[in-house]
């Protein structure tokens, strides 16, 4: 890399480098070419299908090593390749495939909030209409919330385009040792108790004990974690989160403000994996749904896989091993006692009323507005205080209205002005 003023006189040495590199390259290449050149091996009798989802790596290992072999034993003519995509990757990949016209044999799982992006995409609804097969594929023993999601689909989209696959019930995790050291024996059951407990812990240990996913839209991890937290809280206070400034919404943010005096300093970089929301009264069931993109091939094989995934066996496997919230009620029979703490909580959550998030096309902008116009000024930069909360939310609502008006027309904007519209789907 250093320049010499005279002409290069070590060319023979350079030639040896080049020759050496070429030899190494040829060897490395040919050694790897045949085993690893990316082609899907297929004999004429096996059908190859692909399953796109976004899960943790440990969950991916389970799917590959346990779940898929179970399926392939049951259906010997079908081979499943599991593709673990980063979050938000599923929508991007499916849309790219759709735009190209080469969809392939694909079944995919996607968060039920993000599914809106595929229904309202710029190419229109890219999900295959599954109404004809719905009866045959869905278990009759769906938990009530999941059944309601299907009813919602039929009403709003005119058909069944996706099946509920698994639920995400947020649970609270608390440090039992810290609590008993502070003299608190039972965990808080509601926000008031949480606030009291936080005060006690602070006075006894000097630590701020509450963690939330506060990364917001700052520096990546996108705003979906923070926005999801806030969504849950607003529902728990009886508000319509998408409306942004109804009574429940305002109360939720104000309560969060009170709790924020006890936020752990890490909260500004907190996201998935640190805190999962507070289970109070009604619980939020978010979850993943399964769908087939329009134009997919080998549909019967895809249907078999869906039937398997929704069936009691698979749902039970994932419930026990991954703590995924099963949507098939039969999965909950005779659960092993050793894991009953989590399962009791889950069963309780499902038995009491649950809400589902409403898939809308403008969910990204909602998240951005909520995070930047409300969460950041109040909780991150502290430029605004408690008394500003109602006006901030009102401005956010106005910004959302303008967005819908400009992009989706007056009709939709007028719909938005009624807090009963775009409300969470209730049981």
């Amino acid at each position: 890399m250093v320049d010499k003023k005279t002409t290069d006189d070590d060319s023979p040495k350079k030639w040896t480098w080049i020759v050496a590199m070429v030899i190494v390259a040829v060897i490395a290449f040919s050694a790897g070419y045949f085993p690893f050149h990316s082609t899907t091996t297929s004999s004429s009798s096996t059908v190859n299908i692909e399953f796109y989802e976004s899960v943790a790596s440990s969950e991916a290992a389970f799917i590959n090593n346990t779940l898929i072999p179970q399926f392939e034993t049951e259906y010997p003519g079908i081979h499943v390749t599991f593709i673990n995509v980063g979050s938000e990757g599923v929508s991007k990949d499916i849309l790219a495939l759709e735009a190209s016209g080469h969809v392939g044999s694909i079944v995919a799982g996607q968060d039920n909030l993000e599914i809106g992006q595929l229904i309202y995409s710029s190419s229109g609804n890219v999900l295959m209409n599954l109404t004809p097969m719905a009866q045959a594929l869905m278990p009759s023993s769906l938990i009530p919330a999941a059944a309601n999601l299907v009813n919602y689909e039929k009403k709003v989209f005119g058909g069944v385009y996706f099946f509920p696959f698994r639920g995400n019930v947020p649970l609270v995790f608390y440090n039992k040792t810290m609590f008993s050291n502070a003299g608190i024996e039972t965990p808080p059951g509601n926000y008031t108790q949480l606030l009291q407990d936080a005060k006690i812990i602070k006075s006894k240990t000097g630590q701020n004990a509450i963690m939330i996913q506060g990364a917001s839209t700052n520096g990546g991890h996108t705003g979906s974690s923070t926005a999801t937290e806030l969504y849950q809280m607003m529902v728990q206070f009886g508000g319509n989160p998408l409306y942004l400034n109804d009574t429940g919404d305002i109360m939720a943010i104000q309560e969060l403000y009170n709790l924020s005096s006890y936020f752990s300093p890490d909260f500004k970089t907190g996201y998935w994996g640190s805190y999962h929301g507070l289970a109070v009264g009604n619980h939020l069931l978010g979850g993943d749904v399964l769908f087939i993109p329009k134009g997919a091939t080998n549909v019967p094989a895809l249907e078999s896989f869906i039937r398997f995934l929704l069936g009691a066996q698979a749902q039970r496997e994932t419930l026990i091993n991954l703590s995924w919230v099963a949507i098939n009620a039969n999965a909950y029979k005779d659960l092993p006692a050793s894991q009953s703490v989590v399962f009791t909580a889950l069963e309780q959550a499902i038995a009491t009323g649950v809400f589902l998030r409403n898939p809308t096309p403008w969910i990204t902008e909602w998240q951005v507005i909520l995070c930047n116009d409300v969460f950041n000024p109040v909780f991150v930069t502290h430029l605004k205080g408690y008394s500003d909360i109602p006006s901030l939310l009102s401005n956010a609502h106005e910004a959302m209205y303008q967005y819908i008006l400009t992009n989706y027309g007056q009709t939709n904007a007028t719909l938005y002005q009624n807090p009963n519209n775009y409300a969470p789907i209730s049981v």
Binding site: G86, L97, A99
Partner: protein
């Protein structure tokens, strides 16, 4: 008297300065190695990890390979394949483009080089989706070739620039002489110019190779089924992954890099980068 304006002390200045710099440069790599080979309790698991860990273990590598064995190897070859295609294409297109630019009047070649540079200014997120759609349409989804063609975009401007710079060092009369002596156009180009520009071409090849090995944005969209190594690392560095495995993968990715960079340092000249637009 003024010839030796640096006294005998100056030699030590070089070595001290050089060693300090080298130390700073190598520290992050050192950290990579100790996390990969150290017991987690002393590295990632500790509140204040030890700067000189005492426990050496192969567990981390073992876990990473057994957990991901086949996926890791196939990602390695995917990255390898893609990088080679990118580098070869870059040199192929770049060599000829640089030759053409060399022949042009300075005004125009400057403009075209600037045009090439503008293309690097565009945020990759914006163009990644439309480009990927094009490639998928022609059937190149998830193939190394498709990904290579997309990465070419990132790599070409610098490659052309580099080889153009290498051409500057070749005396123009040489080619003229060869033509006078009866060489045809292609003979002059490939038998006379090419060997002289070889160091620059090799630099461009290695540079493109390294840039492709590193590339991430296009790989995420164009190669999800059989991912490349950077994608694997990214998946492991997010909350849903295991950072220890991510670190092991990082080490794996970095080893060829170190070897190739050392080789690159023997070929590359700063003048290649700076001649293209001097003046």
């Amino acid at each position: 008297m003024v010839n030796e304006y640096k006294g005998p002390r100056s030699k030590y200045y070089f070595y001290i300065g050089g060693t300090v710099f080298a130390f700073i440069v190598l520290i992050p790599l050192y950290i990579l190695v100790i996390i990969a080979f150290g017991a987690p309790s002393q590295t990632l698991g500790a509140y204040y990890p030890m700067l000189l860990p005492t426990k050496f273990t192969l567990e981390n590598l073992h876990n990473a390979f057994t957990g991901y064995g086949l996926v890791l190897l196939s990602a390695f070859y995917k990255s390898l394949e893609t990088a080679f295609i990118v580098a070869s294409l870059a040199v192929l297109l770049g060599f000829h483009a640089a030759y053409g630019l060399n022949k042009m009047p300075y005004k125009y070649s400057n403009m075209i080089l600037a045009l090439l540079f503008f293309s690097t200014m565009i945020p990759s997120l914006t163009i990644a989706i439309p480009i990927s759609t094009i490639f998928i349409k022609i059937g190149l989804y998830d193939s190394a070739l498709g990904l290579a063609l997309a990465q070419e975009l990132v790599v070409l401007p610098l490659t052309v620039f580099l080889i153009t710079g290498a051409f500057e060092a070749i005396p123009r009369t040489l080619e003229y002489q060869a033509r006078v002596d009866g060489a045809t156009f292609s003979q002059a180009l490939y038998k006379v110019i090419f060997p002289l520009a070889l160091p620059g071409i090799v630099s461009a090849f290695l540079l493109s190779w390294l840039m492709s090995w590193d590339e991430f944005t296009f790989a995420v969209i164009l190669s999800p089924v059989h991912p490349t190594l950077p994608i694997l690392i990214y998946l492991q560095s997010t909350a849903r992954g295991d950072i220890l495995t991510g670190t092991v993968f990082s080490l794996l990715v970095t080893i060829p890099v170190i070897i190739l960079t050392v080789i690159l340092s023997k070929f590359i000249r700063g003048s290649y980068l700076s001649s293209g637009l001097t003046g």
